[in-house]
Symmetry: C2
Subunit: 483 residues, 2 copies
């Protein structure tokens, strides 16, 4: 899916043709094992395509283990032992040894890198649903208003004007009182999680994490050498007695959670639990990191107030993704924390990148608070709800189980026994269909009978075919089918 | 200097007036110790200024220890023991205990946060020297060319088109052959250093670092719990015999260096040493991280080829700052590494922020390779050289010692005994003059008779007065003057 994530794409067919030509050449033994393949320039000239198109084809073939690249020498047909002309999902061994033990590879991105036609693994908004032209015009105004925006660094915490406007937004929309100094602008929520883990967690700490959860968060915490203790999440929230027991016995330093339209399940922690959770956090000195990534993507009723709203002692850190729904390319997220926490996080942000680029902050500030944009978000909610309903209708005949979410971008679906999500994925990738297998979202690396299907990114006119192929793959009898 | 680093500034005088009003109120005991100060809103209405202006004044007073803020309650006069109406440079204790032991505070930014009129501590280009209007026009074209640039994520390594163009640039300008997969776009060089330290260094490793060096690099490595071993740098480069001995005995995993117009000294490691260093790196399996931050800011002859040029075994990682000279607000830097290293760094970038925002990359790509921009860079070199010469002429009567740099943004000046740079800085800040004291750049925390003076950021018409005040402060007799 690499190509559709980049600007100026639409070269899908060309890139596929180049890919096919190389595959055919290898299968027909035109180029034998370990033999040098035509250079990018050469093939581009022969096929009359841009060199980037050839490069993309080679990169895909390299990802799939069909070709290998050698420095300064170009691309070669892979040795027969190394790969097949299929998809290779296995973890590649690190060549550089020093750090291999403790940098965990982001497993989700391995799946996203595989190009497919029916993309239900990316929990992203389809660009067709975004107000592209409107935004471009807005952006041009930013340069008139801030002629020096490109010559200027942001402060580490982020632009003070933007943070000031955000405090007003939080007050008006959620009744949350914040000082601008309690807000930090981060480059996406991913960075917020990473900063928090670096600032507040030390090696050997115990961390509570939902099961299942947002998989890159697992990667971030694993990297810090912590003990990850799972907390089961259900459509009714958590088992609070069990949670209190864990806090008492395990003395976790923090609990990373996704309490609203949870990723991947879509479950929402109910209000009474939210209040009790904050009390537990205070009692056991456990920081609650609430990643409110889908808060504004509700379908019917607005979701309950964030945990941050109930916090009086400063034990909750709130991560909010705003740009995701309007201009994901900006990568603007907000981290809200009371001064004591913030004071620990700021130096880590300074060391990480010394502040998010000012330009993207000013663009965000310019359009986000406009009524036009808020109208867009309302329309987007409707569009997403319709997509969700369509996918649910397509899945209805299967008898598979899921809990219909009140917001967010995903369905969390339980497959019937003995179907394995991993085996199903391998089969689906052959049919150009991608989704996220449950194991990736599970800190215990199990949940192999669950899958996450995103309805937000796949073009609407491909959804029927994509889900159809998924169901067909699940009904094939050859479960032992070998990759 | 906070205010001049932000867009839409120019409120210096207003902010200063508010600051003065509060200081006078405290001095006249209108507001006593621990007493509540007027709210931001109240003071803004009284003084008919924007609330941000009041906020800035309060923030400055807070930084200086004159006022304290309390969550949900506003600002209060600090207890007498806590601060004085002067500048307080002392490290503040962390309130949040968990991580205080091993997150090192970025010391340089403590100095930059102090607002002064004569700013010679920031090694930045003055925005007047940048082609602001030209860039704004260019940027508008980016949205026409890439209408979905705001809806699209970058890949983790950075936009493939930009990396492709950069390989051509490296080939044409430096004769360095690179594959786009060997390049990563980072959010500033700061992020590149941080990613490398996280990917390639583990707790307990030994790291070689120049003495003196770029101070945030010290902070990054200290955070990783490494043993920092200093390598003295002189106008003639390093003592290679000593360096080989260190590599043999200490078995460092990497050497962080700044070999061209070094920050802070301006020294350049000569060609023969570069070749030998690469051989040493290979022999002792020590990665050379060359941070070529000032490479393109040469005054006379072009600097020698980077170490990366001589590397055949993949032991050199090259960090290059490009946007710094043309649009620092974009925060675009490039990390070049051979595939083995790159493979270790990519997952850390994925966890850190999942890729630099696409927009800033596309803007950079759009203008950087234009001849107009390359002409700008040539003019900028001349402007900086003239500033350097002016500062040297102003310092000439003092008899202080420095080695005139062939490029870069700084003079590294040795003060006469017994003058202490720290004491001089305290005195200068009172006269609204800032520079970087040598101790901050020294991994051994000494070098108190050296200062770094940047000629790149101070408005040209303030340089004479600024240097004059610096010299006057150095000639005052009361060295024991107490803060």
């Amino acid at each position: 899916m690499q190509s559709s994530r980049e600007a100026g794409s639409g070269k899908r067919t060309l890139h596929q043709s180049v890919y096919d030509v190389i595959i055919e050449g290898i299968q027909s033994r035109k180029w034998g094992e370990r033999e040098r393949l035509p250079s990018v320039r050469q093939l581009a000239e022969e096929m009359q395509v841009h060199r980037l198109t050839v490069l993309k084809a080679y990169q895909r073939l390299q990802d799939e283990g069909v070709v290998v690249s050698k420095y300064k020498s170009g691309y070669f047909v892979a040795p027969a032992s190394q790969g097949t002309a299929g998809v290779n999902l296995k973890e590649q061994a690190w060549i550089y040894p020093a750090k291999s033990q403790y940098i965990h590879r982001s497993r989700l991105s391995d799946i996203h890198r595989i190009p497919v036609d029916y993309q239900m693994s990316e929990a992203l908004i389809n660009p067709n649903l975004l107000p592209n032209a409107f935004l471009s015009n807005h952006v041009k105004q930013v340069f008139d208003m801030y002629p020096r925006v490109l010559s200027t660094y942001s402060s580490v915490k982020g632009d003070p004007e933007l943070r000031e406007e955000l405090t007003q937004y939080f007050m008006q929309k959620q009744g949350i009182s914040l000082h601008p100094e309690e807000l930090m602008i981060t480059t996406g929520s991913q960075q917020a999680i990473d900063l928090i883990s670096r600032a507040l967690v030390k090696s050997g700490d115990t961390i509570l994490i939902e099961r299942p959860t947002y998989s890159p968060a697992i990667d971030v915490f694993v990297q810090q050498n912590v003990k990850l203790v799972p907390v089961e999440i259900t459509p009714m929230g958590y088992d609070l007695n069990r949670l209190e027991q864990l806090m008492r016995d395990e003395k976790p330093s923090l609990f990373y959670m996704n309490p609203t339209f949870q990723n991947p399940t879509g479950y929402t922690v109910p209000v009474p639990q939210r209040k009790q959770l904050v009390e537990l956090a205070e009692r056991y000195a456990c920081v609650l990191v609430e990643d409110e990534v889908y808060h504004d993507m509700y379908f019917g009723a607005m979701p309950p107030a964030p945990m941050f709203y109930y916090d009086t002692e400063g034990y909750v850190i709130h991560i909010r993704s705003f740009s995701k729904y309007v201009a994901p390319g900006l990568r603007i997220s907000v981290l809200a924390a009371r001064p004591e926490m913030m004071q620990a996080i700021v130096p880590v942000k300074a060391l990480s990148d010394n502040g998010t680029p000012l330009l993207t902050q000013k663009i965000f500030q310019q359009y986000f608070f406009s009524s036009r944009l808020q109208n867009h978000v309302a329309k987007l909610r409707t569009a997403l709800e319709l997509r969700k309903e369509k996918m649910e209708a397509l899945l209805a005949p299967t008898g598979w189980k899921w809990s219909s979410p009140g917001g967010g971008l995903n369905l969390w679906v339980q497959l019937p026994e003995p179907l394995s999500a991993d085996a199903l994925l391998q089969r689906c990738l052959q049919a150009s269909v991608a989704f996220v297998p449950g194991r990736i979202c599970d800190p215990l690396d199990a949940m192999d009978s669950w899958i996450r299907l995103s309805y937000s990114f796949i073009p609407e006119d491909r959804m029927e075919e994509g889900v159809g192929r998924l169901i067909a793959a699940a009904h094939r009898e050859d479960i032992g089918w070998g990759i």
